[in-house]
Symmetry: C2
Subunit: 347 residues, 2 copies
DNA sequence: GACAGCCCTGAGAGCGCTTCCATCGGGCTC
DNA sequence: GAGCCCGATGGAAGCGCTCTCAGGGCTGTC
């Protein structure tokens, strides 16, 4: 590839001239070559090669009205985006899928609540063909923004407003939190544990609520005081565990709504000299590498296909874009991805 | 803002018509309004408002040859990108700075060594005005790519090929690793410790080597067997500590090249019943939230302005872009950001 | 009162590409 | 052998914008 002094790159015109064809034909070849006879295709390709031609993206977008890029909107306050491998892993999955379809990823980090204007302008400005968004809270403006901008969107995690009839179904990808929780609690029950407590996550996150629901599904007439509230952090897990032990010194199992809280709980149990899993069996959720395998004992937990979820999100969006372009194809529907019990030593 | 049925957004033409001015004047107003008389400016702005006009980015890029976007290239194998809050925090800083200058962030994750072609095509394709890149190994093709693409770039972390005379200076932003290491080791020495060991990072990362150099700066005629090799991971830190204790059961201080290794070392020390900091004082590097404050005792470590480094990278790149556009302005130069000793309980 | 000069404004070219439509040529059919 | 149809090709329009350039109105000066 010849080095190009920026700003003077060869145009399609030049390629066409060199190949001795019209710009139209050159364009056809560059875009797949359908309906162009082989010898001409070869000539054009050779010219492309010799000249080091690279299509001008802006010109193409101007006429096709497609940018070949999608936005990933992250509205999460920084704390979570930083510490949570969840996001980065999903992004990796998204990136892989998009890359495989020649689509670019534009990262939009929301810098505080006042920043949504900027996001709205950007999404409506024709910079991207669609959007992937994470972590919507009840009053999250992102759905309204994408609707107004008229671009397809796919969400990561079940939005809490799903039930809102005002919104047409916005497809989302979420793990089977409820099913995973059931798996965990049934496992503890099958272990013969009878006083199974739960450390729940924050009430404004659907994943936390779904996990709580799953817990309740299995323990239909469970004692409500066996449930303590946490905030998905190590510290909150420790606090919740302390609380639970005060209320129920005799509990014999704990299902924590995520691994971080489980590790906090584990610390408290260890400090009190309570043997895990002998006296209290402990199950987490997430199968977070850096936590679940590092604790002592390693956590039994509920695993999910995080990267796969990212891929899936991207795939759904690409499908929606395709539908928009061709006017046909399947309507993307939300997907719940399976969760599995990962047995380690803590239960 | 009126809802726009995608694809039929108002154009500048429409705005001009509604305001009763020419397209040229409308354009001038939209781009700042210099040299347009107040009443016309107002009329145009009103039309913009009423119509919900948003400039078409592709059209603008086509003529200005500027995209208003920069790429962030992450060539790190996924393991590190995931676990390392370093990256996400720098990205946050980059995002903030770019946002403040109306510039978008396109994330380019390199999916394996064969993927550089795609990156090269992308960077050369006029999709972005410049690039920020992380973590260059000696044979990293990214510098060559950006040079060939003719776009300015700024690197995060001192590239190992800095000394290569073939490359014109590519500006980079790096923490003062060497100075930080000196700070740590001097601190230990001033504490009265005489047998100060070092757990070093991998030799192919300049940060690790710089920290080692800083250690040596202070301990000029130090015993080389007081240095053990690690790989910036918890496990490797534990291994290195074990090794050091075997070689030097009487050591009274350890400076680990990062917090993860320090936490591994701490685990080993605790297992052996060695009191920290009483018997062995321990200092880490990075001041990584999720580690340094969570250990018991919390780590004394060397802190750096991670988000600030991200901002700085973005700022340098924006400056380079500005220079390119205006033909003047300061030449961006590499910056070494200061490090500070953060005293906690481990030393 | 006339003219120079300045500031605003508008006309128009053109950025590089895709795509509609007309054209052309070759192979078939009768 | 003439007419037809179809597939391949080229001409040209136009996507929405910026920016140069020329012109028009106004002020200020002599």
């Amino acid at each position: 590839m010849p080095e190009q002094p920026r700003g003077s790159r060869p145009t399609l015109e030049a390629v066409a001239a060199r190949a001795g064809v019209s710009r139209a034909t050159a364009s056809r070849v560059v875009n797949g070559g359908d309906g162009v006879r082989k010898p001409l295709v070869d000539k054009v390709l050779q010219a492309v090669d010799e000249l080091g031609y690279i299509p001008n993206h802006a010109a193409r977008t101007l006429v096709t009205r497609r940018t070949g890029a999608v936005a990933v909107v992250i509205a999460e306050p920084e704390t979570r985006f930083f510490s949570d491998p969840f996001f980065s892993q999903q992004i990796r999955g998204i990136s892989k899928e998009l890359t495989a379809h020649d689509t670019q990823l534009v990262l939009l980090l929301v810098e505080g609540p006042g920043d949504f204007d900027r996001i709205a302008r950007y999404l409506a400005g024709g910079h991207v063909d669609g959007a992937l968004a994470f972590s919507l809270h009840t009053d999250d403006p992102v759905p309204a923004i994408t609707r107004r901008a008229g671009i397809p969107a796919v969400y990561g995690g079940r939005p809490s407003w799903t039930a809102d009839p005002g919104d047409q179904a916005v497809p989302y990808v979420d793990a089977d939190n409820r099913g995973g929780a059931r798996l965990a609690v049934r496992y503890l029950r099958d272990l013969g544990r009878t006083r199974i407590a739960h450390i729940a996550g924050p009430a404004d996150q659907t994943s936390a609520m779904d996990r709580l629901d799953g817990y309740r599904d299995v323990l239909l007439d469970g004692d409500p005081t066996l449930v303590a509230d946490g905030a998905f952090t190590v510290e909150s897990g420790a606090r919740a565990m302390t609380e639970l032990l005060e209320r129920h010194p005799d509990l014999d199992a704990v299902f924590a709504a995520n691994d971080l809280m489980a590790s906090g709980a584990l610390r408290v149990l260890r400090e009190r000299g309570i043997a895990v899993p002998e006296q209290v069996a402990l199950v987490g959720f997430d199968d977070m590498d850096s936590v679940a395998t590092e604790t002592d004992p390693p956590l039994t937990t509920v695993g999910q296909e995080i990267e796969g979820m990212g891929r899936l999100m991207a795939r759904l969006l690409l499908r929606a874009l395709d539908r928009e372009r061709t006017g046909s194809g399947e309507v993307p529907e939300s997907v719940i991805t399976p969760t599995t019990l990962v047995r380690r030593a803590s239960a």
